[in-house]
């Protein structure tokens, strides 16, 4: 297997936009291509994550259109991947795999989504399509509902009184908004307080409005290549040290999903390939679609023992400057969550952090970063480990 | 690069199904797994083609559910590919690349789709989503419309009177129905005549009902593995000799799309990798979503000179027993077109053809050793070509 590196990265501002998904992706991809000091004709393949382009814009087959939009030649391989909210991470992992195995030398990978304009009712319905349509859909389950049930399960299992857990969940939102306020590309650039969170209207008991990430529009892209080519084009290549991906079935089959076997399997693959453990990770961009989601995943990724992560949040261990900086970009919560693009935006942040380009939200001395992206109710999980040294 | 083979293949009956997309795929996949003499736990990755799970069944994120349905482990990556009608071929091609590159040894690839429950207006609308939406979608362009425009361009460019071209297009439908009538898994198993095609209701002028393939439910799957492993699994491994994939522009940017650049590029890549030429192909399953599509495809693939394929159809050169048999399965036209599964069903046919398994059915292409699949997504946004062959 060849060593794989990221050269340029690109990302649009997240939040409501009047641009199309193709336009959003093209802007991000051109930024990544320009930053890589290459030309569009150097790109051999385009791997695109997109969740719901059909409902959002009536647009399928997006990858081919994006390839043409960028002016890639007709022999370019262009593929759309859908793994719900993990779509871009699935695309990036696939790009890593095919560059590592020698099939391609230069690949653009990323994602795009325009979820905001659907409106809450249709967006809630279509997002819920990431859950099982035969055995769960007709209960009227929503994604806030999936994580609301997880919060009750967690509180009950670890005997943490619900008001206490809710306060700590609110602290996750407060931290991520604090980071997002320093990110010029974030959808929300405004700090909030625990009170703000606990005053919001209830979306799905016990989750309130500020426990939930927003619907967003946005695009993000990265250029993936070999160690050798990267060194010729950019000063600070960032290496993909490890990658993992897992698959789970319907929520009811996962039973007690405070422990997600697909996430544990995925993280294990990534750690093993990178030859590192959870304690070696300096910072992580993780899938905080809901506040409780961030708490549970920190345990599944091995950063904290099961049942202890909410306390660590309270102690400030996950802040920038804490034991392990979680979501320095603001996360899905404040930066925004254009589902098909999210994984690429996570990689964008880690690459910029490792290069020391994050200004006010810079994590000092970061050498190894990790991304964690969840699709559906843990149906797809992708983990990537990135480092500045091979 | 390692040599890559197909071991087992599986496919459901095409047509109306009461089963879910995942259930159909699981059936096809288990047939392929059993046919490969392996267990689900031997599979390292799932590559799944699916287009409209969301509109059809309210189901996104199809791949992991399919993976777990057939009992693959939680550590098995599962990827859904969407490239409109070429989705399964993309999945197969990507699986080939991953096995050839040494990343995986045994993978499951295929596709599934359940269209019929949508009804014609919603199905027509959602299919139309594979054309570009901002600058052409709002004209109400449909897929029959795309190939209707193509038919007129073709007629004009090569000076073939439309009535003559339409008769030859009808012969494509007649041939594919003749083949499909012998295929127990086909949606339509009834022969038709040129007169029936020409008296059908008009869908998008000049295309009539029987110029168009149907909406279909169905699934297909294949096991892709290394040469070494395949030899241990099955008696007759089928080699993937070459693959190619191209990306096309929106229709308005393609200008003269009787010559589909992305298809020419994809086929060239596949031929070069296989080290062969169009004349070496013994049998092909091509993307006959509309009768005129088959004519144009066989020219872009190099089987016939540009402008001459419709005449070749008239002479019977694309029949079983002809110079280059096209769509012995019945093609999309008669076998059916569950779009996310189509490429895998083409692979199923070609693998069985080069293994010589269709003698009893009466559709065996005699002496077939090398076969090609051609799958088109959208108005040629994606083209995938794969060449399969058997040793000896």
């Amino acid at each position: 297997m060849r060593k794989v590196a990221i050269m340029g990265v690109g990302m649009t501002k997240f939040g409501p936009t009047e641009k199309s998904q193709v336009e959003l992706f093209a802007e991000a991809a051109m930024e990544a291509i320009n930053a890589s000091n290459i030309k569009t004709k150097d790109v051999q393949a385009l791997f695109l994550g997109n969740g719901l382009g059909d409902f959002e814009e009536g647009q399928l087959n997006l990858a081919g259109f994006c390839a043409n939009e960028l002016g890639l030649p007709p022999e370019t391989t262009a593929m759309r991947f859908e793994g719900a909210c993990a779509s871009a991470s699935v695309a990036i992992r696939n790009a890593f795999l095919l560059v590592a195995s020698g099939a391609y030398d230069i690949v653009v990978a990323g994602g795009t989504e325009r979820a905001f304009s659907m409106g809450t009712s249709l967006a809630t319905r279509t997002f819920a399509m990431g859950t099982d349509s035969k055995y769960e859909e007709f209960s009227g389950l929503t994604f806030p509902g999936v994580f609301a049930m997880l919060a009750h399960l967690y509180a009950n299992k670890y005997n943490i009184p619900l008001p206490k857990l809710k306060e700590r969940m609110a602290m996750v939102a407060v931290k991520n908004h604090k980071n997002g306020a320093k990110n010029p590309l974030a959808q929300f650039q405004k700090e909030i307080t625990v009170e703000t969170v606990l005053k919001g209207f209830v979306v799905a008991d016990p989750l309130q409005l500020f426990d939930c990430c927003p619907f967003s529009d946005g695009g993000a892209a990265v250029v993936i290549t070999t160690d050798e080519i990267a060194k010729k084009h950019v000063e600070k290549p960032v290496y993909i040290l490890g990658a993992g991906q897992g698959s789970a079935g319907s929520l009811c089959r996962q039973k007690d999903y405070t422990i997600m076997p697909s996430r544990i399997a995925s993280a294990k693959q990534a750690y093993k390939m990178a030859g590192v453990g959870p304690k070696d990770i300096n910072m992580a961009e993780v899938h905080d679609c809901f506040t409780i989601a961030e708490i549970v995943l920190l345990e599944n990724l091995g950063f904290y023992d099961f049942g202890t992560a909410s306390e660590a949040v309270e102690k400030g261990e996950t802040e920038i400057g804490g034991k392990i900086a979680i979501n320095p970009s603001g996360g899905l919560k404040a930066k925004g969550h254009p589902v098909g693009a999210t994984g690429a935006a996570q990689v964008y942040e880690i690459v910029k952090q490792l290069r020391g380009e994050c200004g006010a939200r810079q994590v000092e001395n970061a050498k190894i970063g990790m991304t964690d992206t969840l699709g559906g109710d843990a149906g797809t999980i992708v983990n990537l480990i990135l480092g500045i040294q091979k | 690069m390692r040599k890559v083979c197909v071991a087992g293949v599986g496919m459901t009956k095409f047509g109306k199904s009461e089963k879910s997309s995942i259930e159909m795929f699981a059936e096809a996949a288990m047939e392929a797994i059993i046919g490969s003499n392996i267990k689900p736990s031997d599979i390292q990755c799932l590559y799944l083609g699916n287009v409209f799970g969301d509109f059809e069944e309210g189901q996104a994120l199809m791949a992991p559910y399919a993976a777990r349905e057939i009992g693959l482990s939680v550590g098995t990556p599962s990827l859904r590919f969407e490239g409109a009608c070429a989705s399964a071929s993309m999945a197969i091609r990507d699986a080939f690349v991953a096995v050839a590159g040494g990343f995986y040894d045994v993978v499951l690839a295929g596709g599934t789709e359940r269209e019929l429950a949508m009804g014609t207006p919603l199905a027509t609308r959602t299919f139309n989503m594979a054309t570009e939406q901002y600058y052409e979608g709002m004209t109400g362009l449909t897929f029959p419309g795309v190939f209707a425009i193509l038919s007129r361009l073709y007629s004009k460019k090569y000076g073939i009177p439309l009535s003559k071209l339409k008769e030859r297009m009808a012969m494509v439908a007649v041939k594919n129905h003749k083949n499909g009538a012998k295929n127990p898994l086909a949606q339509f198993r009834k022969e038709i005549t040129v007169e029936e095609v020409l008296s059908g209701p008009m869908i998008a002028e000049p295309l009539q009902l029987l110029d168009c393939c149907p909406f279909t439910d169905g699934a297909a799957a294949i096991i892709i593995t290394t040469e070494e492993k395949a030899k241990k699994m099955v008696e007759k491994p089928v080699y993937i000799l070459g693959v190619g994939q191209g990306s096309g522009a929106p229709l308005y940017r393609q200008k003269d799309f009787t010559l589909i650049e992305s298809r020419v590029a994809a086929a060239k890549t596949a031929y070069a990798m296989a080290g062969i030429e169009p004349k070496d192909i013994d049998v092909a399953e091509v993307h006959d979503c509309f009768t005129t599509a088959e004519i144009v495809a066989t020219e872009c693939l190099g089987f016939f000179d540009f402008g001459t394929a419709s005449e070749a159809v008239e002479k019977g050169e694309t029949q079983i027993g002809g110079r280059i048999p096209i769509n012995p399965s019945g093609g999309l036209k008669s076998k059916g077109h569950p779009i996310g599964a189509t490429g895998a069903a083409q692979a199923y046919e070609i693998v069985k053809q080069v293994r010589g398994e269709f003698v009893e059915r009466g559709t065996q292409v005699e002496g077939a050793k090398i076969g090609l699949t051609d799958t088109l997504g959208g108005d040629s946004g994606v083209i995938c070509n794969i060449i399969y062959g058997i040793k000896g």
């Binding site: 809450t120 009712s121 249709l122 809630t124 319905r125 399509m129 349509s133 035969k134 055995y135 769960e136 859909e137 007709f138 209960s139 009227g140 389950l141 929503t142 806030p144 509902g145 609301a148 049930m149 997880l150 009750h152 399960l153 509180a155 009950n156 619900l162 209207f201 209830v202 979306v203 799905a204 008991d205 016990p206 989750l207 079935g249 319907s250 929520l251 009811c252 089959r253 039973k255 007690d256 | 009461e18 089963k19 879910s20 259930e23 699981a26 059936e27 288990m30 047939e31 689900p40 736990s41 969301d54 509109f55 059809e56 069944e57 309210g58 349905e69 057939i70 009992g71 359940r114 429950a117």
Partner: protein, 134 residues
């Protein structure tokens, strides 16, 4: 190849019968049905009628509903006596009075709720309805 498809499973549920699979290799139960045993992957399963009794493990009250649904309503998961978990609605509790201590751990029986066919679904919708024992 399927012993029990989703369609057959829901037809039975509407008749008041909760069906599942019992694995002849490892003895565990799978419900809702799959092609293979959810635990060991074996396809050597037989269709059995389950007790239809379970215990609520977790729940939520949906207050922002998807297109086609009217909030509020309770979504919950119950662990069946035979082992599998099911997702459904709780039918006999006022959503505004649902709290952890009066829901989690409660014994339920499993019934069925039928929804008319909506957009983007091939059939009518059927979902388990949990009834908390008095």
């Amino acid at each position: 190849m399927y012993k029990l498809t989703y369609k057959q499973y829901f037809e039975a549920l509407k008749e008041g019968k909760l069906l599942g699979l019992k694995c002849n290799d490892c003895g565990s139960y799978t419900a809702p049905p799959k092609l293979c045993c959810d635990k060991c992957g074996s396809t050597n399963n037989e269709v059995v009628t389950l007790s239809g009794k379970g215990v609520i493990k977790t729940f939520t009250v949906i207050r922002v509903a998807p297109e086609g649904y009217d909030a509020p309503y309770i979504v919950a998961m119950a662990e069946l006596e035979e082992g599998p978990w099911l997702m459904g609605n709780i039918a006999n509790v006022d959503p505004d009075k649902a709290k952890m201590d009066n829901i989690i751990g409660k014994k339920v029986t499993v019934g069925a709720k039928v929804l008319p066919k909506m957009n983007y679904t091939p059939d009518e919708g059927v979902t388990p309805a949990f009834i908390i024992a008095e």
